[in-house]
Chain length 505, copies 2
């Protein structure tokens, strides 16, 4: 298996027509070759299902031929394991959410195939063709796409990418042929004739796309789409090739996974927190009331300005996350806030990428989403408890940073809190909870086990702060929570300041 | 356990203030009573989680006090098992989908609690207050709500409904008190003063709502909300009462479930289908091309007119569903059509109501959703194989009819196909498939087992046709599929006719 992240060594593919190769199949050839292809596809699909491999097939390139190709692929595979998702160039199912959200949500569970007719390449492709976005912005977007695909392949997803090439002249001939037969004339619209020049511009866009995203782990297969039989057959071969390649490769070795972080020498930011911070009851009431009043107003303004906010709460057990979140929630119009409690993943969630369930809960513009625990579980509990492999949690810092950048570049603010207290104070609270009947449920045997792993968590938290605290993008706030009153006020005043800045910006 | 569907015998509740009862708690009383309530709630929550009971808590009534009540309830329960959903009166997350869809999607899995701040009562309530809808239309909508709640309780959901009552005078006093304290003044907006008259009109709406939906299986608890301590405490008691009621009741007996249908004497519509119908290759090609051309145009017009279509495909194994669906799909712009293959439910889907996964796939306006198998599995495979109890599948006909009516009243068309063939032709196709390498996967041991149950399925299909074929709402079409060419043309021409009618209507 090639090393993930390594750029493909070979040249990006050129279409067979330009390379002078063959680009058509006769009817007889097609019918002669097809059975073996179909048998192979079904066999590979079954084997990948049994192996629990999620498969992503991207069909990109010339719009005129994408649907028919997707239909052909669909007809050759077992429909029970395939879900088709269509994203047109102008299609954004919900402009009030980050544009990557629908792609994440459409990712297949283990053992299934997601067939994308149009994909994450569509917005950047059509943006360049219509010259709506600069080449520099397109390149930045393509870098993001390359990272996204690497993240998927790192997680075991097989990605097969097909680019259907059609030049202006071939498309003109195609349209003429379709129009001349009354049985197919309906397939041609007036728009098709008008949009012929798109095909020339598409080739330029393709070069940029291939340069940035033709990688060893997610290579492009370029297919000349002048002839339907040829292009459908070759698309099937590309899928079969990708599948059998995956089935015959040896398992990736731990050594092959190159991750730089963490360096194991993160500064001990946790210990620097001033746990002596406290507030008098009176000062608490004054400042809390003032902050809630401002928060109430700011959340209304955020709604009007369509500003979304993500608030992440992590912290030691019994540090007071619940009570703090309640003070936030009661000051925000209930229609504009949602608390998302994060527990162990459900069976269906376990079948997906670990970020999938968080993408689904990304707030729409104008809304505030409060995560009671979060994606940081990957590098906290999953790291400490060994639920994630070392390679998995080590590369998660980059993945998490990228996820948060996706939100921030859409216009959402991301603010993260670690509620910090001493082991001694935690013990006092556990004891207190055990003595109060209606608080007893809050202390589980798991909490006592977590307590024993305090040093491991302490190190993991410091790594999180070292690697994912980006003050200008998605800052962490370590909140001294030895005194609950101090912590609550600190959090709500921080949220107020963040919202104010977002509304000014 | 009370008989489902039976209207509550007692009088609908009147607020304690009108009844001359007590409506406030002192601070001392509140703090004295609260621990026992909280302990009870947590205990009941744990017991219901272990029993796998899904709980729906609806908080309705005076907007001014709903959020605080929901926050109080939230703070007393274990947040890991509670999801809060807020629906304001004007809040429709997606007006392009039937308005019940978001409520269905928010239903809790087994063992969890969904807390609704605003709910399916919000649109009808605010519609009546603003006088946007007639009383007759409101009554029809309330009947639908009553059916919806009965469906949920039939499926084992515990529904607890709280109505917070606040009259104009009490709200005026409340606003004055809040405004006079600088610590709470921010809670009062100019709008709050303007909307005081809403409270009087709300009481009238309440009477209609209670008349239609105060049922034995989902009764209302009316709480005077003049005093926060009193109303929060009473809301907690209402939840606790509902929960412990469920925990102490005896299990429902099969006899208690009254279902009228099916009568076991459905006409044998299947046997009336003319399986001799066939088409020549030439006629097939002409009619298919003509129908595809019209379908292509109609689907574009449907998109422009924001008309949604649901097409349901059921039929014997090997009857040709896949090939027929492909002919439809290839004539529709890929962005406007989605095929939803229905297999056995996933673990997460099994934790929900059986209609949940279909509600999630209801198409947005302008789109066409093709279901390759469907909700009819409840009364076909689940009935025949015993996956659903007799009471479950017997009441499913009504539930399915109601589901489809929801779609149709939103403006979506629903068209259903049963692809019919003879056991002999099925056998020929099984044999043919077994002999073709790339078709072999299509015949599983399950298919052979299903074949042995032909008579049971035959009866089940006739019941489906008898009980769910509503020509003006959601018609069934039994398509003779002994000849694949005939079946494909019949289906696509039917879809064309349905779309044409929908666009004319």
């Amino acid at each position: 298996m090639p090393k993930p992240g390594k750029k493909h060594q070979g040249k990006a593919p050129a279409p067979a027509s330009e390379a002078g190769g063959r680009t058509s199949l006769s009817g007889a050839e097609y019918h002669q070759y097809l059975p073996a292809l179909r048998f192979g596809l079904l066999d590979a699909q079954r084997a990948l299902r049994e192996a629990g491999v999620p498969v992503v097939i991207v069909v990109a390139g010339a719009d005129a031929v994408k649907s028919d190709t997707v239909n052909a692929l669909n007809s050759w595979m077992d429909p029970r394991g395939v879900m088709t998702h269509t994203f047109g160039p102008e299609f954004n199912p919900d402009p009030l959410r980050p544009h990557f959200a629908p792609f994440h949500e459409a990712l297949p569970p283990r053992g299934s195939i997601a067939l994308f007719c149009g994909s994450w390449y569509s917005p950047v492709g059509s943006g360049r063709i219509r010259r709506d976005i600069s080449r520099a912005r397109a390149k930045a977007e393509l870098e993001r796409i390359a990272f996204f695909e690497k993240m998927l392949t790192d997680a075991g997803v097989l990605i097969i990418k097909i680019w259907l090439h059609l030049d202006e002249e071939s498309q003109r001939k195609r349209l003429k042929k379709l129009s001349s037969d009354p049985r197919t004339a309906w397939k041609v619209s007036a728009d098709d004739w008008k949009r012929l020049d798109v095909y020339t511009r598409l080739a330029t866009v393709r070069d940029d796309i291939f340069a940035a995203t033709h990688t060893a782990h997610a290579p492009w297969v370029l297919i000349d789409a002048t002839d339907d039989r040829y292009s459908h057959y070759m698309a099937g071969q590309a899928v079969l090739g990708g599948m059998t390649g995956r089935l015959t490769e040896s398992a990736p070795t731990a050594e092959a996974v190159v991750v730089a972080e963490p360096r194991g020498e993160a500064p001990d930011r946790l210990s620097r927190a001033d746990l002596g911070s406290k507030l008098s009851e009176e000062e608490y009431e004054d400042r809390m009331a003032a902050a809630q009043a401002r928060l109430s107003r700011l959340s209304r303004l955020s709604y009007q300005a369509r500003k979304a906010h993500v608030l992440v709460f992590e912290g030691w057990d019994a540090a007071g996350k619940g009570g703090t979140i309640r003070r936030l929630v009661e000051a925000i119009d209930a229609r504009n806030v949602r608390v998302i409690p994060i527990a162990a993943p459900t069976p269906d969630e376990l079948q997906r990428h670990y970020l999938w369930r968080f993408w689904r809960n990304v707030p729409r513009d104008g809304q505030t989403a409060i995560f009671d625990r979060s994606w940081y579980g990957r590098v906290l509990v999953e790291r400490v408890e060994g639920f994630a492999t070392e390679a998995e949690w080590r590369r998660a810092y980059d993945e998490i940073n990228d996820f948060e950048e996706n939100l921030v570049s859409h216009g959402t603010t991301v603010t993260k809190f670690w509620l910090h207290l001493s082991p001694e104070e935690q013990l006092r609270r556990f004891d207190d909870r055990s003595e109060t009947p209606y608080k007893r449920h809050k202390v589980t045997s798991e909490d006592w086990r977590n307590r024993e792993k305090w040093p491991a968590y302490h190190e993991a938290v410091n790594d999180v702060l070292d690697l994912t605290d980006r003050p200008k993008v998605a800052p962490w706030h370590v909140v001294p929570s030895e005194d609950k009153l101090f912590a609550r006020v600190q959090v709500i005043e921080t949220v107020v300041a963040r919202m104010e800045r977002a509304l000014r910006g």
